[in-house]
């Protein structure tokens, strides 16, 4: 058993640094990262609100995250644990978002499909970083050096607001896509699928089928 390679990466990474990443590398981030999920995407892309940051100059790292955090009466912030939310739900907005903001690092839970990576990650020089666990919220929280701002809290609420955080060796994250558009999760699924028939031996499909049911266990879920 070999330990994965560890990499320190800026949230405004060079193309060379991105190209050097390999599936399964463990990454720690430095620099500014912002959270954006459905609320931010809808407001910025559908309602055409002005994005309250200079992107990608300030940050090329989009975290699919709602932190466990509060805004104090004096306007300061307290951020406890930080973990990602599942990214596949945001495929609808990501092509436009990446094109518009120059995001190079999409950080979230569960990854996207290799089709997504090939269609709009690779052409924009972007890769996907997955959080670990999931749920290393306390470790990631330790990597938050400062909460720089929270935008659109009034409009979207704490969970959907755009939090801007300063990362200091924040991690671990795992590289889940590369510049060939390969997908770490699909690679692992394919390996697991080879042995699954053995576990199913002797079981039988339910007598009553469900509408739209798939019995193909190599199918992806997203």
């Amino acid at each position: 058993m070999s330990a994965p390679r560890e990499v320190r990466l800026s949230t405004t990474p060079t193309n060379e640094a991105i190209a050097d990443l390999r599936l399964g590398d463990v990454v720690y981030l430095d620099g500014l990262m912002y959270t954006a999920r459905e609320g931010v995407y809808m407001r910025a892309l559908e309602e055409k609100a002005n994005i309250p940051m200079e992107l990608p100059g300030q940050s090329a790292a989009n975290f699919h995250c709602s932190p466990a955090a509060r805004i104090n009466a004096d306007g300061s912030f307290d951020m406890g644990a930080v973990t990602a939310t599942a990214s596949f739900r945001f495929a609808k907005w990501l092509p436009e978002w990446i094109a518009k903001t120059g995001a190079k690092l999409i950080v979230g839970k569960g990854g996207m499909t290799s089709k997504d990576y090939k269609e709009y990650f690779v052409p924009n020089g972007a890769v996907y970083l997955s959080t670990v666990g999931y749920g290393t919220g306390a470790l990631l929280g330790r990597g938050v050096e400062n909460v720089e701002a929270v935008h659109w809290n009034e409009e979207l609420g704490l969970a959907q607001a755009m939090w801007v955080i300063k990362c200091n060796k924040m991690g671990p994250f795992i590289v889940a896509s590369d510049m060939n558009g390969e997908c770490l999760f699909e690679r692992e699924n394919a390996k697991i699928a080879q042995n699954v028939a053995r576990v199913y031996e002797g079981t039988k499909p339910a007598v009553l089928k469900r509408y739209g049911e798939s019995d193909d266990r190599t199918d992806e879920v997203i």
Binding site: A81, E188, V196
Partner: protein, 318 residues
């Protein structure tokens, strides 16, 4: 009479403990899993999780940024009374939920399903859920809070007697495959299975099996206990580990709960708790004593009773 202020302050402590402290039974189970895991990536994930639990406790910050959807299980001895009655108790639990959301802090996860309005405090219509149970004796009240993740790792299916045990296994494996890919359900987890009841009760049984029973507990029916051992082993034979990476640890334990169902059916539900199995329990006595623990001890003989009347004297003599 149990003072209402004690109920609220205890409830706030429980919210804090559930979010921050991994229960010992689950931690022991995950440590065992980490020792046996030989998939490179899976092993790295388990190691990171163990470090995360330590960091959470040391910093007094939540284990996971998604702090789940807080809910309450209240169990009362038959002789318990609460100052202000049950309306006051419900208000105290709602207030504790809101205060702890801001205090710990927790993520305010609860929004209106259609309007997405957010009170930023995890309180709203039907939130937090408060469910009740009773025991034949005692003046105490047990407060149990569970903050389960809300989106992935739950399924239900109406099976039929002709599906048999092999059909049950099939749906169990199908569920674990679907939950486990890309690790969306945050395994390895305590898996709960509900068998029987009507659809809603089937879901309730399975959810309680995953959240209200501890690692290592076994159903009091020895044949069901055997199934629990077998299903744990089966789930860990898939070849899938943490985050859906190649590995051998998917199920930290498997708990099965049953309820009588329609003669023509065999409804089944499967639920995965998660890597941050957030649960905390306290028993409050009328004299002001508060005893904290992590085992909800929900499924007593009384909860699983089959008879019309409960005759504790006869039961005790057997």
């Amino acid at each position: 009479m149990i003072p209402i202020s004690l109920i609220q302050s205890t409830a706030e402590d429980l919210m804090d403990k559930a979010a921050i402290e991994i229960p010992q039974d689950y931690l022991d189970g995950l440590q065992r899993a980490a020792r046996t895991e030989d998939g490179d990536l899976s092993a790295f994930v388990l190691k990171a999780m163990l470090e995360n639990y330590a960091a959470a406790k040391e910093d007094r910050r939540a284990m996971c940024g998604d702090t789940g959807v807080p809910r309450w299980f209240v169990k009362m001895g038959n002789d318990a009374t609460v100052e202000g009655g049950m309306i006051a108790l419900e208000a105290a639990l709602r207030r504790a939920t809101a205060n702890a959301t801001n205090g710990v802090p927790l993520r305010p996860n609860r929004v209106h399903p259609l309007w997405r309005t957010d009170h930023d405090n995890n309180v709203g219509i039907g939130a937090p859920e408060i469910e009740y149970g009773f025991e034949p004796e005692g003046e105490w009240i047990d407060l149990i809070t569970v903050h389960k993740g809300g989106l992935f790792g739950t399924d239900y299916r109406m099976l039929f007697p002709s599906d048999g045990i092999q059909g049950i296994k099939r749906f169990y494996l199908d569920s674990l495959m679907a939950f486990g890919k890309r690790g969306l359900a945050c395994q390895p987890a305590i898996i709960g299975i509900g068998l029987g009841g009507s659809k809603d009760i089937c879901m309730t049984l399975g959810k309680r099996a995953s959240t209200l029973r501890v690692v290592g507990s076994r159903n009091s029916d020895p044949r069901i206990a055997e199934m629990e051992d077998e299903f744990k082993e089966l789930g860990n034979s898939i070849g899938m580990g943490a985050m859906g990476f190649v590995g051998k640890n998917m199920v930290i334990d498997c708990n099965i709960e049953v309820g009588y169902c329609h003669t023509g059916g065999m409804p089944m539900s499967v639920h995965a708790f998660c890597l941050s199995s957030r649960r905390a329990v306290a028993r409050i006595f009328p004299d002001g004593r508060v005893e904290h623990r992590t085992d909800p001890d929900w499924f007593t003989d009384y909860q699983r009773r089959e008879t019309i009347d409960w005759e504790p004297v006869r039961e005790a003599a057997e």
